[in-house]
Subunit: 499 residues, 2 copies
């Protein structure tokens, strides 16, 4: 057995442990009774330890050395690169740091759960400061352990690489810079235009069963395969499971069907990516989704580019009448307006696609300076307040629970994650622009609820490529050029100003 094959075998095992973790993790959020939580946490922790032991095995360094000079196919070579990156990321941290950080994160997330509702920033601050301290330490170790050409050049980049490998601060600064220049005026213009446009919100109640019938029909038309997946309910919508059995969730509110419906469309985008990954490379790193940003690009392509387009709304309206009963508000004009309403708000997850980047850029700027040591935790609320005024015209003041305490990411130690949301939105716009040139009657197809050709194109250009290309190469492969925020801005102008 060659060194490469030995590595494949180890990663096959990791993949299978990942399968178990994915199903059990899904169970934890959808099925598990509350009394099972503590035993489950122990089982998941042991699973993490076993996986860590495999990937940091004492023979790994030698195997990578030997495999580097073996005769490999392009995909094997790419797989070796991904395995190596995974090994480096997992093995560079001393066990004590991993343990200290996961304890601090658990403590901080628990504290956040309790303190957010009470707006108790002062109590939360020292607990979170410990997470930041250990995150800086982690970033230092990661930075020192990198050796390749496009290795991270700063603490923050070392963290970013965990979510968006190969993405640099320079690149983010450039694209976010363009957005910062353009979006405030654009947002203002859109809001002024929309002020003259009356919108009626359909009045509920909408029964859970009718909403479920609606979203299941929508999923089917979007190409979701119920023989290889499920739809369930959870507190926060997510996409889990494995490519052969991909499971999405939503939540139902009897007063608002839009929330469950668009969560489902969003998660169906994630699910389609997972399901379209090359099965012959399943359980190998090269066969997995490229990055968090690319994952989000697929969910946002479904939710925003397709799902809120006028064409898609014209497909939806008869479905709404069929499943929810005619509530009088389901005209194409009204629903299209409702689904593209722009309004600056405090809460990121409720933001429309126009104001969403401001929420991300604000977090990016703060977390970057925090990790690099330019600011300390105590400075966050004032910075938040100032940037909210600057980017969205809203004063947060001491409303921390709708300010810097609103998201779970920081309390849980996921620093460096936020940019992927907006990278995903930009990528989705760029991919969709390309799709419009590739499929001449794309609007007509969407208006029929038929996205077969879109799925085929995405399957060929994104999903089946998996991690065989770097993120930079993947966007070029699919669209012919590097990530370019102009597509997103053009999309906003087309949809919100010229429509």
């Amino acid at each position: 057995m060659s060194a490469y094959q030995k590595l494949e075998k180890k990663f096959y095992r990791l993949g299978q442990l990942g399968h178990l973790g994915a199903i059990v993790g899904w169970d934890q959020r959808t099925m598990m009774p509350k009394g099972g939580a503590s035993a489950r946490a122990n089982a998941m922790a042991e699973l993490a330890v076993i996986s860590h032991e495999i990937v940091t095995g004492s023979d790994m360094a030698d195997l990578f050395d030997a495999a580097a000079s073996e005769n490999l196919s392009d995909w094997q070579r790419a797989n070796l690169r991904e395995m190596h990156q995974s090994w480096r990321q997992e093995s560079c941290l001393p066990a004590e740091l991993v343990e200290a950080k996961s304890l601090a994160e658990a403590k901080s997330e628990d504290a956040w759960q309790e303190m957010r509702g009470k707006n108790a920033w002062d109590d939360f601050k020292p607990i979170f400061a410990e997470v930041v301290r250990l995150t800086r330490e982690e970033a230092d170790v990661r930075l020192a352990a990198t050796d390749s050409d496009d290795a991270p050049i700063s603490r923050y980049e070392a963290l970013l690489a965990l979510y968006e490998p190969g993405c640099s601060i320079a690149e983010i600064d450039q694209v976010f810079g363009t957005l910062k220049e353009t979006l405030p005026a654009l947002t203002q213009e859109i809001i002024e235009k929309q002020q003259s446009e009356a919108v009626t919100t359909p009045e509920g109640p909408f029964s859970t069963s009718s909403q479920e019938a609606l979203v299941r029909e929508v999923m089917l038309h979007l190409g979701f395969d119920f023989d290889g997946g499920r739809l369930d309910v959870s507190h926060h919508p997510f996409c889990g499971g494995v490519p052969e059995d991909v499971r999405i969730t939503t939540r139902y509110s009897e007063t608002d069907f839009v929330e469950s419906l668009y969560a489902v469309i969003h998660e169906t985008g994630h699910a389609s990516y997972e399901r379209g990954l090359p099965r012959e490379w399943g359980n190998q790193p090269v066969g997995m989704a490229r990055s968090m940003g690319f994952h989000e690009s697929q969910s946002l392509l479904f939710e925003m580019q397709i799902g809120r387009s006028r064409a898609y709304v014209s497909y939806l309206v008869p479905l709404l009448e069929k499943q929810l009963g005619n509530k009088g508000a389901y005209t194409v004009d009204n629903m299209a307006r409702l689904l593209t309403r722009v309004e600056p708000g405090y809460i990121r997850v409720n933001a429309d696609e126009v104001t969403y980047p401001a929420h991300v850029i604000l977090r990016y700027e703060i977390e970057k300076d925090l990790v690099e040591g330019k600011i300390e935790v105590g400075a966050i609320p004032e910075l938040w307040h100032q940037k909210m005024i600057e980017y969205l015209g809203l004063e947060t003041g001491n409303n921390h629970k709708d300010g810097c305490m609103q998201d779970v990411h920081w309390p849980a130690g996921a620093i460096g994650y936020f940019p992927t949301y907006t990278l995903g939105a930009l990528t989705a716009a760029q991919l969709f622009a390309k799709l419009k040139t590739a499929i001449s009657d794309i609007d007509r197809q969407i208006a029929k609820g038929d996205i077969t050709a879109i799925r085929e194109w995405l399957g060929k250009n994104i999903w089946s490529v998996a991690s065989s290309l770097s993120g930079k190469d993947l966007i070029k492969h699919a669209t012919g050029e590097p990530l370019n925020p102009d597509y997103f801005l053009t999309h906003l102008k087309d949809r919100y100003l010229d429509a």
Copy 2:
């Protein structure tokens, strides 16, 4: 760290892998879409390989040697015994035999799935013969690998030890011999008595939702804790999950509520045992249920001893009226008769408690001779036919699908399992006889649907003892004497002749 502690750590890991396998196994039978089956099988196979590697690690023999002379508490000593047995059973088989047998079993179970419905015994025979051949080989290896005082003395005992450790053929022959002498005449007498007793079967349809409301209420009264468990639907009812999160299933037929209800009562017995295991020994072999026979004793104690007693029926009748609507057949007299109707039939799983042992004894006699090499696979149908006539007065002839092809056990390679059903029934009767002396007004409590005192007694005498005692010692510990079939026979006479 002492050798014993090192062993505990290894078995802790095995326990956590077992947790993952239990949840994922539950998922497989309740939630998994069919397209997920093949990937899931691979993940489960890898989990089995990982567990096998841990338990057969090269340092295990030395650890057991060293631990034997360490200073241990009684429970640690018992845990060491259980760990050692688990290690011996798992490590004695050569990998090639394990693989050959699991392939043969998978092939045979698949063939059975397809051929049972077609009654295609001749096609199935050679495929099953391969399972038997490998089972004999396995039994030989197991037999050669045993070394303790109460080690198995024949191939069949070596297999039996996998399900009912410490149980001998001599013991089974003795108790089954008593049953064989007594049951045929007793059954005849019961049937004759029941001929004069009219029974009305409640007429459906019974909606699934009303049946579910009924069984959930019954579960609650039986002490099932929904904060640490679930009820779901599966093709065959089962009890799965882990003690902290124990999950039972049932199935609903709109024409028959008795099936779902008594499956739930049965599985709640299993679940109560799991839930009552000593949490401080969770994930260690000594903290697990004693054996398949003891597990079945708890389910049958709930289903048969409690559930079909006249006292319990008098508790049930108002519940049936409340949840299913008054269908006119819910008198205590009628329901008690319906739930204790005795009728010899071809199918084991449909058998009443009086004729059930005949089905088990028949299988036991055939599988024992098959493993010991006294008969070959080709002889099974004729033996089945003859024994069915002798024990139940029914001719199977060439109706193999309702004869020797009816159960999944043999096709799946579970040879040596069947006796545990009847050992469980006998144990349940013996425990319940003891319970009646321990709780003077037990009938009155059951008639109120209150089994708190019963649960307390079982918790103290069976559940919390777990595997700290051998099977032989456990029945003595709980009832003061060895397994004695007279309690079961007395129970049948009391219920079916003297009532």
